[in-house]
Subunit: 220 residues, 2 copies
DNA sequence: CGAGCGATTGAACGCTCTCAAAGTGAGTGG
DNA sequence: CCACTCACTTTGAGAGCGTTCAATCGCTCG
């Protein structure tokens, strides 16, 4: 569901109008798309690569609120400003929709608005899952949930679910799960030693014991 | 913004149609409105009282994902099922909108859909703030952020921002902030001892040093 | 081959949790 | 009016998980 694009379920007429207003942008890895507090002048749709969203505390502590892949959108804003910073994890391509034009289009095509609403609802559900993870899960449960999420997301997008491609750094994973890089690294080592995963070339993680990962993700 | 109702910004015709389909329900404190996994057959709007939403892990660990007050809506669903349990904190009254009818109405009145989308966007922003809190803040920062949130929410709804009415139990606060009841209690005591808050009759917290609370909420 | 960055490993600390007990207050019934 | 219960809160002591600080490893790139 997360993986469907905004453009799905539109008829040709609507798609053509959408194509008229979008710009396609390609961004190298580790580049900032926009920063927390910037004027929110556009909505984006990821068409390739991975993007991370994060918020900072004054002293530099960071919380990554999501990793976005193909089909995910970003740029929803409150008070005309972005509430988070968006940065590429890998080289990425995105569709950029100027906000004014998309607003006008939403008025014209309720179907599109409905689609966007449905995506926001899904994001909200994902956010609640993440709160449960951050507030109540142990380090091992967090890592297992994370791997499972990546695996399921890949499957939904038609890729093979195992091994899982993990393009983000230990520091990014830590800031997503509310841990430190050391704890992330140690937990990976534990899972490796326990024989439930193994690390492969090219930032891939092979899940050898999917059932064990499932159980450990929820503390069973 | 959270405090505006779905019904705001509708014209009389739309309001009348909305009134036709809503049922008003009154629910005592500590009652379950619906449970995680239940078929999502209705959308609710809180008109009085406080409601909490939570998710559980198999072993009983609980994460409260939000406390809802007048104007907040609940019942957004994915896959036709509620993704969380909803329970009253205080006696509450709610407007109940059967899902089928609200869906039909949304198609008819794009303005309403837009309103709902905007509310979901705000919820999403709040969820991201909460992730930052859960993942990266200390116990003291969490408690201060919590009190500040309640204060600001009261102010937005036209109530006085200080003292803050805190109707939920220590256990609920703990499950909202990813702490234990003991830590919540100890942190309140610390803040009391430091002279920045004092507890009053009727579950109210007087913030004596608002600046200190602001600073402590973000670790300054 | 050396520099530099990220990942891993080690050791010790500390924040929060766990377990336990005492305190508080509202409600009940004698 | 008072004892009693029960649920919630507060406080205490000790333990543990994850952090902090530090060193080493391994890979990539110039």
């Amino acid at each position: 569901m997360r993986s469907l694009t905004v453009c799905a379920a539109l008829d040709p007429e609507e798609l053509r109008r959408l194509a008229d207003i979008l710009q396609t942008v390609r961004v190298e890895a580790n580049q900032t798309l926009f920063s927390e507090g910037d004027g929110a002048d556009a909505l984006y749709n990821v068409t390739a690569g991975t993007v991370k969203l994060y918020k900072l505390l004054p002293d530099g502590r960071r919380q990554i609120t999501g990793f976005l892949v193909t089909g995910d959108f970003l740029g929803l804003a409150v008070n005309e400003s972005y509430a988070y910073t968006a940065e590429t994890v890998t080289t990425a391509t995105l569709c950029r929709f100027p906000r004014k034009k998309i607003d006008a289009l939403m008025d014209e095509f309720p179907k599109m608005q409905r689609r966007l609403f449905s995506m926001a609802s899904n994001e909200l559900a994902a956010a609640q899952d993440q709160m449960l993870l951050l507030g109540r899960k142990t380090a091992k449960e967090k890592i297992c949930s994370f791997l499972l999420m990546l695996s399921q997301r890949a499957a939904r997008r038609g890729h093979k679910e195992n091994p899982v491609y993990v393009p983000m750094s230990r520091a990014d994973i830590a800031d997503y799960l509310g841990l430190t890089t050391e704890t992330v690294s140690r937990t990976f080592t534990q899972l490796k030693t326990a024989g439930v995963i193994s690390l492969q070339e090219g930032n891939k993680v092979l899940i050898s014991d999917m059932d064990a990962i499932y159980d450990m993700a929820e503390g069973c």
